[in-house]
């Protein structure tokens, strides 16, 4: 689930602010930080889209080559807290390894363990710079399954 997710689904940010925010983008307003709302046919897909939205704030994902792979796994039965954990684990791995991530995959096995994978490369001068995402918060956090679609929302601290 979530495998092969296309990184360009969310709006890229090559020129940052010079692109107007538009309907259909995965962001919603928050006073100091930035809200992310994404959906998917599966929960895993919605989580992957949320990761793409978070990392799109930092660079244009289409410029990131998948030269390195980082695997991570965690157990979190609460789906809302799993979303926060997923994003925070990715941010931590990106920070520790000094990597820009451009593509993500996520699965959950029958035992409830989440297995994620991020693809990226070390930051290069040619990566367009957006803003640093520091962490996922519990603000406006929700995971909903309605009409066959999973919708997830959270606020990231920038």
């Amino acid at each position: 689930m979530g495998k092969g997710a296309a990184p360009k689904k969310n709006r890229p940010l090559p020129e940052g602010a010079d692109l107007p925010a538009s309907k259909g983008d995965p962001y919603f307003p928050h006073d100091a930080d930035i809200g992310i709302a994404t959906c998917g046919k599966t929960l895993e897909e919605a989580f992957v889209r949320a990761a793409e939205a978070a990392f799109s704030l930092m660079t244009d994902l289409s410029t990131v080559h998948p030269l390195q792979t980082v695997d991570l796994s965690f157990v979190e039965p609460d789906e809302e807290l799993a979303l926060v954990t997923w994003i925070n684990r990715l941010l931590t791995e990106s920070d520790i390894r000094r990597l820009a991530f451009g593509r993500f995959e996520l699965e959950r096995n029958a035992a409830g363990r989440w297995h994620g994978r991020a693809f990226g490369e070390p930051w290069r001068e040619t990566h367009p710079r957006g803003i640093e995402v520091k962490g996922a918060t519990l603000s406006h956090l929700s995971v909903k399954h309605e009409g066959g679609l999973w919708t997830v929302r959270l606020v990231v601290d920038v």
């Binding site: 940010l13 020129e15 940052g16 602010a17 010079d18 692109l19 107007p20 925010a21 962001y27 919603f28 307003p29 928050h30 006073d31 100091a32 930080d33 930035i34 809200g35 930092m58 660079t59 807290l81 926060v84 954990t85 925070n88 931590t92 920070d95 520790i96 000094r98 820009a100 930051w123 990566h127 710079r129 957006g130 803003i131 640093e132 520091k134 962490g135 996922a136 918060t137 519990l138 603000s139 956090l141 606020v155 601290d157 920038v158």
Partner: protein, 477 residues
């Protein structure tokens, strides 16, 4: 904010009209009517929720620059009594633990500096790592990082970053006691190894400013300020380490809340009893992060000194003051005439000690503590001085910045990074940033009027205005 829900308690002070509960929530909002009206209703909701946490002492408060945060509002102040089941909240400190402002004063005037401002901006951008993906010029081993977590700015000075005289002008003398590096996760430590001496992004900045107007000549003299003087201000915090600690403990507290039987009106207010083992572990980790932030600003200050000494031979840079605005500290305060030891959360709020306070360096005992209200790029900043009455009003707390007037999303819709940079350049303000998006999100128009915030801070009795600073160079992440 719907002001019909509030009643005026005095100059710049507002309380909540009791609703169906018929009991007034222990909440005070500071600010003039226009600023209160401009605040989101969410600010009121968040501070009322905060006031419901166990062991609150006095009232939960918002400063005039308050805006909607997560759990606590940004610009929120709340003190808790450990003897009455009081709590410590990771969200009440914020993710960027000990984010704060360091201001350096120089003997340089704008007349001498003006011709060299653009080269100065370029050199600062070259030497100061800022923004996404920018690692440190000073990577440290994990054992060294452990010493930084315990020593703060004192460690930095002992290792060649700055001068001993700086320490006297930093809160806690540059080192927060009670740090427990063993309470900090390995992930947090590894994250920080290559982030010492980096500025970060978002609302963090390094500014070269000129003293534009002196409002209180006596305090200005005590602070060593004069009109036309060049100052440098740094706004940043504990970088990745602080964020990882905030993340780690927030999740721990959320999961641990049921056994403590703490009813959380908002999960983001996740907290632990101060006297619990988890609460004490967080306090130890938070203190380690405070020291990392103090060391980080000390390292950055030395980078600024090195650059400016090269460009302006003979320049002298002294630390005016270094004060954090995302902390929780144990302090003594008087409530209803009784002295109590309290843990005071200041999230996006500056400690503002009044004249005579024993924690102040001797040079500032008479005017009170320097208080910084940082603006955004084009809008300027204010230096204020602590006043005695804020002890009773706000546990000696005041505003910390202009406060956003619109979301980043809305700022992106309204402003273009290129246009903002060009417009500021035409006003003699040189912006340097690798991110046009960052410039647009931080556009001066996205913030409240800094003058109104500083004025409201004075009207509310939280601090008094000393000097207005106009930016000339701004480095953003």
């Amino acid at each position: 904010m719907d002001i019909s829900r509030l009643e005026n308690l005095g100059p710049g002070r507002w309380g909540v009209i009791p609703g169906t509960e018929k009991k007034r929530p222990p909440v005070v909002l500071f600010g003039t009517e226009p600023l209160i009206r401009e605040m989101d209703d969410k600010v009121l909701e968040q501070i009322v929720n905060t006031s419901r946490l166990p062991g609150l002492a006095g009232a939960a408060m918002t400063m005039p620059d308050a805006h909607w945060g997560y759990g606590f509002p940004i610009g929120g102040v709340a003190a808790f009594d450990p003897g009455q089941g009081g709590v410590i909240s990771a969200g009440g400190v914020g993710f960027d633990i000990s984010c704060g402002i360091r201001t350096l004063r120089t003997n340089l005037t704008i007349d001498r500096a003006a011709p060299s401002l653009e080269p100065l901006a370029d050199e600062l951008q070259r030497r100061v790592p800022a923004g996404v993906g920018q690692g440190s010029s000073f990577p440290f081993s994990l054992p060294e990082l452990g010493r930084i977590m315990e020593g703060g700015a004192i460690w930095a000075v002992e290792n060649g970053f700055g001068e001993k005289a700086d320490l006297d002008r930093i809160e806690e003398g540059g080192c927060m006691p009670g740090a427990r590096p063993e309470s900090v996760s390995e992930k947090a430590k590894i994250r920080q190894q290559e982030e010492m001496g980096t500025l970060g992004s978002g609302n963090h900045y390094m500014e070269v400013q000129v003293v534009d107007k002196i409002q209180d000549p006596n305090a200005a003299k005590a602070f060593g300020l004069f009109e036309g003087q060049i100052l440098v201000s740094l706004h940043c915090g504990s970088r990745g380490l602080g964020h990882q600690i905030g993340t780690d403990y927030m999740m721990d507290f959320v999961k641990a809340a049921p056994p403590w039987k703490i009813a959380l009106p908002d999960r983001e207010l996740a907290c632990a009893p101060i006297r619990s083992e988890a609460g004490q572990r967080y306090i130890g980790a938070m203190n380690a992060a405070i020291n990392v932030a103090l060391a980080n600003r000390q390292i950055l200050s030395q980078t600024v000194r090195n650059v400016m000494e090269e460009i302006f031979p003979g320049i002298v840079l002294h630390t005016l003051y270094d004060v954090s605005h995302n902390t929780c500290k144990e302090e003594t305060h008087r409530i209803n005439g009784k002295s109590r030891r309290l843990w005071v959360h200041r999230k996006g709020a500056t400690r503002a000690l009044g004249p005579g306070h024993p924690s102040l360096p001797s040079a500032y005992r008479s005017p009170g503590q320097p208080v910084f209200i940082g603006g955004s790029m084009g809008s300027g900043s204010w230096i204020l001085a602590g006043v005695s009455q804020s002890e009773e009003l706000s546990f000696s707390s005041a505003s910390h910045g202009a406060g956003r007037s619109m979301s980043r999303h809305e700022a992106l819709r309204r402003f273009s990074g290129r246009t903002v940079k060009k417009e500021l350049s035409s006003r003699g303000i040189h912006i340097r940033s690798n991110s046009l998006r960052g410039i647009a999100e931080e556009a001066p128009g996205a913030y409240k009027d800094i003058d109104l915030v500083a004025e409201a801070t004075e009207i509310s009795g939280l601090a008094r205005r000393v000097a207005f600073l106009r930016p000339r160079v701004c480095l953003k992440g």
